[in-house]
Symmetry: C2
Subunit: 150 residues, 2 copies
Amino acid sequence: MHSYRRRGFQHERDLARKLWDHGFAVMRAPASGSKAKYTKYPDLVAIMDRHIFAFEVKTVYREKTIYISAVQVEKLREFIKRAGGQGYIAVKVIGESRWRFIPLNQLEETTGGNYKVPKELIDKGLRIRDLVSMVKGDRRITEYMGNKNS
Amino acid sequence: MHSYRRRGFQHERDLARKLWDHGFAVMRAPASGSKAKYTKYPDLVAIMDRHIFAFEVKTVYREKTIYISAVQVEKLREFIKRAGGQGYIAVKVIGESRWRFIPLNQLEETTGGNYKVPKELIDKGLRIRDLVSMVKGDRRITEYMGNKNS
């Protein structure tokens, strides 16, 4: 468990570094312990020119449906509501260097009241350069993925 | 040293909690270790409605001139330049519950190329409610403190 979490942090650092290299200001959340349970931090926040992107980071060994707890989704929703930003699940498939970002409103609810990213949605995820394009204003998110809630 | 840093984190958590209670989305930086030395995190970032405030946190036992390294100031400047926000030194005087925020451009350079917050400036620092007022747009920062660089 400990080494699994450590590996998770390494991937978060990798994503933070890549976003930084693309021009974003980046903050990673502190390693969460019992003391942090009342605070609502996303795993990572990237900001450029007042465009705010908040991420929950998920690492998988192959492309497959990813499950996300309702608590994590609510945490992210509350953060972006306050900040005025966009929320994403950041997916890293081990062995691939690219990251893919699934907009929060693309998540599907499970029968148990939690959420999932269906496998086929992962491949359609946005890339870092897509986020940069959104900031630069030359494209809109709806050009990449349909918005189920609108 | 270890317990001193631990106490520092407690104060950061206190500030994070207060900003959260005032409606901000808040991120604290991870505890910095050698692995984090290439990343440029402020101690704390608070965001409301796309207004971004980045803080370096300083704790003192009484009101006195506070020294800040050039490295810390540059780190904060780079972050706010990318994010499009404002930078502050967040000062906590032990034993007082209030926090005071000194805008980055109010810092004075030392002869050694570092920076300081003169003692008399601490008392003029902004409060959390002043940050909220700036977000709500009913007041501007220049109504609180003169801007030396403009």
